[in-house]
Structures are given as C-alpha cells and as structure tokens.
Symmetry: C2
Subunit: 327 residues, 2 copies
C-alpha cells in the first residue's frame, strides 16, 4: 500500500473522530510535513478533509464518488479483483491502456478513467465517455485457460454488472450477450479483448462502460441509451465498482477454478431482457423475427424461428433488435 | 517505396551493367549528392556496391544474405505478404515488437531482426537467437475471422515453412503441430499470438525462428536442435524468407477467403514427421505410447492408443516426444 493510501485509510478508519497530525505521523512513520503534503494531495483528488486547530483531520463527508484506489480497495472483501486500481483523469481508451500494461501487471488490476477521448464499443464503434459522467473501466485478468474458453468471460462480466446493480436496488437486465438495460434502454456496454498464444491466454481485458450521470445523449442514440441518474437512481460510483468486483470474483473463480458455468448462466437467465420474448436477429443484413427460448451451456442463445425450427445463435454472428414494446 | 529502396531496385534492375550517378539522379528525381548518400547508407547496411570512375555503380555480388526490405520485397510475387519489411539489428522479441505495432501497420508486414535478446518459444520458453545466426521474424496478419478460427493459422505457417524449404531443396518435415524438423532435429519453431475481441480478430502475429548458421547449441538442446548449415544446407536467408512469403500467401488466402483447409492439411500430412509412426504423448505428466494415424479437418492429431482406441488430440493439450530411432 502506498503512503497516500495509508493516510486515507487511517482517516477513514477513525470515522467521525479527528486524527491529529502527530497521531498520523506516528502511526505511519512519516514526518508531520509529509502528512500535511499527503492531506493536501488528497484534497486535490477531491477528498473533503476537515482540519480543526488542535484536533486534527477528519473526513467531512463520505468520499463516495471518487474512484480512487484508496476508496475502491478499502476493506474490499475480494482476494485479487479490484485490489489494485489505476485511476486516471483522462485516457484514450481504458481497454487500450490495459492492453499496453497487460503483460506487466497482476491479474485483477482495474483501470478507471474519469474520461475517455477515444472510448470504443464492440466492433470498433464509438463509445461516448465524458468526464465524470460514468464509470469507464477495464479489468485485467490472467486466467490459465485456453483461448476458446475466454468468450464465456463476457457473460461472467455481464452477470456481475447486473447482479452488482441489483444489489444496489437497480432493476437492470441483460440483453444477450452483453448489453445491460434499465427501463428498456442501454445503460452499460461490455467490450472484452483477448491476448493469447494459440494454447493459452496471456490476459483478458474486460472493458465496462456504465452511464451514471449523463443527461443529454447524442440524437442518434437518444432513444436507445440512458443513465442511472436519468432513470432515477442516485448511486455512488464507488459502491457500484466495489459490488462489481465482489460479484465478478465469485463467478470468475467458480468458472476458472471449478469450471462452474451454472452460476453465471443462472444469472444470465434470471436477469435476461429477452428470454421468452420476440426479437429480431439480424444476420448478413437480413432480419428475422424469432422467439428467445434459453441461453445454453456454451453461452449461446437458443431461439425458435417462425417455422418452429430451433436455432443456436453464437455471439457476434448476429445483431439483436428488440420488437417495439418489448426490448 | 522509400527512396533508398528505389536506389537499390534501380541497381538490382541494371544487373551487371553500371548505372552512373547521373542516370540514378535522373531516374529517381533526386540530386547526385542524395544518390551518393543513399549508396553509402546501403554499403553500411552490407550491400557490396562497386563504383568505377566514369562508369558508375553496380552490385559486386548478389546481396543474398541481407534481410533488408529492399531485398525481400524486390519483385516479390505476392499481393501483400512481405511487401513491407521492418528490418532491425536487435530487439527483445520480434513477436513483442509486432504486438506493439500490430494495430498500426497493414496486414502482411514482416518484422525481421538480426538478433533477439529475449526470444521466446511456446509457453514462455526461451528461444536462442544470436545475431545473424538465423531468421528471427514475425509476420503480422489481419484476417477478418472469429478468434476460434485463428489456431489453424499455425498449421498454415508450418506448412508454408516446410514447403518453402522443400522448394529450396531441403528435406524438412513437420512435427505436429508446429515444429519443423531436419534429419530428426528441430530447425524451426513457430509461436502464434492473437489479439482479438470476442467476436473478431484484431491481428495475429506469427513468430518464426529458423536456425541457419548456428553450430554450437547449448548442452540442454544439443541433441534435439540443429541448423541448416549443420545439416549441410548453404542457403540464402533472403531466398528462404521470400519462398515463405509466397507459400504462406497462397495457403493463407485459400483459408481466409475460401475456407480452404485442404491445401494446408495436405502439406501437413505429406510432410508429417509423425504420421504412421509411434510417439509418446505426454499429458498431465503421464506419458503414453500411441501411433499417429492422421491430422483431421480441425487440425487435430488422430492417434491410436495401445488398446486400439482412437483419440483426437488438440494442440496444447499434450507434448509429443518421438520414440528413439523415429522422431
């Protein structure tokens, strides 16, 4: 843990009590000048730290919107997911950044940026990510698996996001394979990328963008996109990230260590926005109305065509559009 | 084409005839001083360029061992493979270099280094790659395919190397999946790496190391490794790379554009070092003697166990050791 993290941890631990400069200095084994410098740096990062003469320092308010390493990792009950956070002001794309450092950092490292200047969605699409408006993050994981087992991790991530939101009271659902929906509009997209040899994964980067405070969306996506604020949810970004880390680690460990796909699949089914409903599948520019029946063991969508035939649909083969009034 | 490439192309084109500084200056639209500077730079790169007073310049000998962009791409009858060559003196690993620039260069770009300081083999193993002793190269390709179709490209690469060597008179064979063997010893290894989204490949890097002039191998691999020189073949490195580019492009285009696996599989079978022979397969530290029967449509090895049972073996699941006297 860095000294700055130790300073904020000591202040968080003391709750409503003040910690004097001398106490902090002794506890952390640094000079009082160093304490003072760290306090100032933390204030610049956005922490509202009160200082009262002869009493010392304490947090004036819970810093629940600062996506700092200190806030996210503080007492986080995970083994490795989210234990290391790299918090950036701005970056081209958190996924690209993650891929640059993927070989050098440990699995579970989280890259979060307040802003992305070149945020990207699936298949090279642009993803709007204004400063402070959302959670723009990429998780680096290093599962010891063959590359063909990696696509399932997209479902693990989707299930973790929807479960995290649900834990915090948000009615969210998954539009297979990996869009998260609130009140029939997209609130979160997931872009998973892979670096691998033919026989083993080097690392996987799971990019997650969640719209939190965005009010005005560009015209072309206004009808389809929304944010938590817009749908009436005022949540702490830190809480969402922490819940995600906890839920992801459970499902991830289950899948990688025990081959357990069931827990993920059950969540994908339970929170599915499309199972039991009619959607259009669009393949090679042809669209067809089908009914979604299930998600199978491979994470593929099972649909029933008009003629009654059952089809298995792989992610990436098709695009799915909801039928008006449904999804 | 860069000016320097144009200079060497003009000199190569003129064959045994001299090209005067003035002729080169006119032909290329550059000053005579510029011609002179490029000639000097080319000499430093290793080209043996004669200059005779009042006659001009010509090549004193065919520059068949310089792995320069000019030499490799000169009249190369391919569409895109090897048309752009990045020739380095030294690098950590050509694969790592290729992955750094993979998103920025066009498909078919070849990275060749005289030396690798951190050459790597499959599964993180070290690959010795001394200066000038071999061909240490990485090919960047950008096929529009789903990631699960990428592993077959390792077979495409292996088939191309063995066909290229065979075109030049070398009796080489393939130890499935991707070691190239001459006189029962390994002469070439292939390490394929992948960058992908879940639904589409960003790029594939095919790393190929061919031992050309190595005489002394470290004790631990002395029994298993060899070089072309050691086995009595004195070939031009440029010829090998050019032949590889030509053979690879044929098989690659067939596979990517037409889904043609047969041409690759036929070469893999024809030049197989193990089909029809007995080998040990080693899985989870247990070794078992089996007979190799075939390579199937998926590129997997079909073997017959002692009890007569037929098994399909995926690359990466097993390690294969030859039986003494065979492979």
């Amino acid at each position: 843990m860095f000294v700055r993290e130790k300073v904020i941890k000591a202040i968080l631990d003391s709750g409503e009590n003040f910690m004097s400069g001398e106490q902090l200095s002794k506890k952390l084994g640094i000079s009082r000048t160093a304490v003072w410098k760290h306090i100032n740096a933390l204030r610049e990062e956005g922490y509202n730290i009160e200082s009262v003469n002869k009493k010392g320092y304490r947090l004036a308010e819970k810093p629940d919107d600062i996506l700092s390493s200190e806030n996210i990792a503080y007492n986080l009950p995970t083994e490795f997911i989210g234990k290391k956070v790299i918090h950036l002001d701005t970056v081209g794309s958190t996924n690209d950044y993650a891929k640059e450092i993927g070989n050098k950092v440990s699995g579970g490292t989280l890259i979060i940026s307040e802003q992305q200047t070149k945020g990207k969605g699936r298949l090279g699409r642009v993803w709007k990510s204004k400063s402070g408006d959302g959670i723009w993050m990429s998780l680096i994981i290093k599962p010891k698996i063959e590359p063909y087992k990696a696509p399932f991790l997209t479902l693990v991530a989707g299930a973790s996001v929807v479960k995290a939101l649900s834990n915090l009271g948000v009615e969210a659902s998954i539009k297979w394979p990996n869009d998260i929906i609130v009140h029939n509009k997209k609130i979160c997209g997931i872009l998973t990328e892979l670096s691998a040899e033919m026989e083993r994964v080097n690392y996987v980067v799971i990019g997650i963008g969640i719209n939190i405070k965005t009010i005005d969306f560009p015209d072309e996506i206004k009808e389809k996109a929304t944010s938590l604020y817009k749908e009436g949810y005022k949540l702490s970004r830190v809480d969402i990230v922490r819940q995600f880390c906890i839920e992801f680690e459970k499902l991830y460990k289950g899948y990688i260590l025990d081959g357990n796909k069931q827990d993920t699949l059950e969540l994908c089914r339970k929170y599915s926005a499309i199972i039991g409903k009619q959607v259009y599948v669009i393949k090679n520019n042809k669209r067809e109305l089908v009914k979604c029946i299930d998600i199978n063991e491979n994470g593929n969508l099972i649909v029933k065509e008009k003629n009654g035939e059952i089809q298995e649909i792989m992610s990436g083969e098709v695009s799915i559009r909801g039928v008006k009034g449904y999804v």
